[in-house]
């Protein structure tokens, strides 16, 4: 079994119009820039995949990555906790023009909803957001004298994530805080695409040190010297 593919274009080929796409990363750490840009390349060339729902903690920054997807007009909706990081111009413009929808989710609830999606838990209760506008319309319940909000799982058609090492079976490690949402998204998506800085043979990663086991991974492409979102933003890079 070898889950590696030989091009970024092949890796992202499963993303189609209207899909829900989870994209790993928090700030620049873990953003799979090359996978995102491969998706933009296809959209620019063919007009597809468009009308995407994108799940990420933020809503794009600068003129690369998710911001560039938004600028390209591929994104119909963002599901995120903080669409107002540094230079969120791309999202802000579209949002204020009514051209993009927003589902705002508290960060811990977003993480837990994605975790629940991967774990087969259709709903759970959390204290987060109880009594606030973000709980409006959601069922609430009392447990042990305290009030909680019922939240639903969140799943995706495809996840795009960035790993440090990947073996050919899909076992993954991450680099420092680039881990963030990616192990959760890998489990919550029907098809998980990984860009890995290095692809290794099975057995290279110690079984104790695997963070994402291979059964959550469907396609791997090696991107040997990946771009770092934060560095690109600071350099003022725009894509395409």
């Amino acid at each position: 079994m070898d889950k590696t593919v030989d091009s970024l274009a092949t890796a992202v080929a499963r993303v189609e119009d209207g899909m829900v796409v989870m994209i790993g990363g928090f700030g620049g750490a873990g953003a799979p820039i090359e996978l995102i840009h491969a998706l933009i390349d296809r959209f620019v060339a063919t007009g597809s995949p468009g009308k995407l729902t994108v799940v990420n903690n933020n809503a794009g920054n600068g003129r690369i990555g998710i911001a560039a997807m938004i600028d390209a007009g591929m994104v119909a909706k963002m599901v995120c906790s903080f669409p107002r990081s540094s230079d969120p111009r791309a999202f802000t413009e579209r949002y204020q023009a009514g051209e993009i929808a927003l589902e705002l989710v508290p960060q811990g609830t977003l993480a837990e909803r994605i975790r629940a999606g991967g774990a087969g838990i259709p709903a759970f209760y959390t204290p987060s957001s109880y009594g606030t506008d973000l709980a409006a319309g959601k069922p609430v319940a009392e447990f042990d004298g305290r009030m909680y909000v019922q939240e639903r799982w969140l799943k995706a058609d495809v996840a795009l994530i960035k790993a440090e090492l990947a073996d050919r079976q899909g076992n993954l490690t991450y680099r420092k805080a680039a881990r963030n949402f990616s192990p959760l998204m890998a489990a919550a998506a029907g098809f998980t695409v990984v860009q890995a800085t290095r692809v290794v043979e099975p057995g290279t990663i110690d079984a104790e040190q695997v963070i994402t086991p291979g059964l959550f991974v469907d396609a791997i492409v090696e991107v040997g010297n990946p771009q770092q979102e934060e560095a690109l933003i600071r350099a003022g890079v725009a894509y395409p």
Partner: protein, 223 residues
């Protein structure tokens, strides 16, 4: 030719349907035997509830590491690409539908897909383990079993009489006499022993068999 398949032959037949690269959980006991019969070129990856993916055969006696065991508490080994994880992550894999196949033993299986494999009734100490999770844990939940009990009563029934493990969860049954799918709450015959007539098979089955125009011959090698 025997009038029924041996356990090893039933396990062999079940193993033939496992695709290369499939993620598989084998129930404790008899189902563990399926791992021995993977066809050449079709390498499955085995999951065990206690937190290992891609484990292999038992080590030689005396070489056991009792920190490296499967859900049946038998010593195992690792294959290249193995991973350890904790119990919540392990059952996230199960409950989240990330396994391709779960193969379980059973006391009874009903035409509506209900499974009873954890309790033979109120006497004794009840114990469930991971059975109730596994039945909701795979894209395909298959059962391997003798077609009838030791005293000749059908194990494939209209409705289970024993306490249920799960509702409407089984999709395929491999027995000592036949391969049967569960579709639209009916037993649909796919294969039967060639020497067995349809009437004979029906007589040993506790619910009506739907028989399509074309059914296969269930032939297993001598093992």
């Amino acid at each position: 030719m025997s009038t029924r398949l041996s356990n090893a032959q039933i396990a062999w037949r079940a193993a033939q349907d496992i695709e290369d690269g499939a993620y598989v959980n084998l129930g404790i006991g008899f189902p563990e035997m399926v791992a021995r019969f993977q066809p050449p070129g079709k390498q499955a990856i085995f999951h065990t509830e206690n937190g290992i993916l891609n484990f292999g055969e038992a080590p030689p006696e005396g070489a056991e590491d009792w920190d490296l065991i499967n859900a049946g508490k038998r010593a195992v080994t690792l294959k290249p690409g193995a991973a350890f994880f904790h119990h919540a992550d392990s059952f996230a894999m199960v409950r989240g539908g990330h396994l391709d196949v779960a193969i379980l033993g059973t006391y009874e299986v009903a035409e509506n897909g209900d499974l009873a494999n954890w309790s033979t009734g109120p006497k004794g100490v009840p114990a469930v383990g991971g059975a109730m999770d596994l039945v909701h844990g795979a894209k395909r939940v298959a059962v391997i079993t003798d077609h009838v009990t030791k005293d000749g009563r059908p194990k494939l029934v209209q409705r289970c009489s024993l306490p249920l493990t799960g509702v409407g969860c089984v999709t395929r049954v491999y027995t000592s006499l036949a391969v049967i799918d569960i579709e639209n709450q009916r037993f649909v015959l796919r294969e039967k022993l060639p020497q067995l007539s349809l009437d004979e098979l029906q007589a040993m089955t506790g619910a009506e068999l739907v028989v399509p125009d074309s059914i296969g011959e269930l032939i297993a090698p001598e093992i």
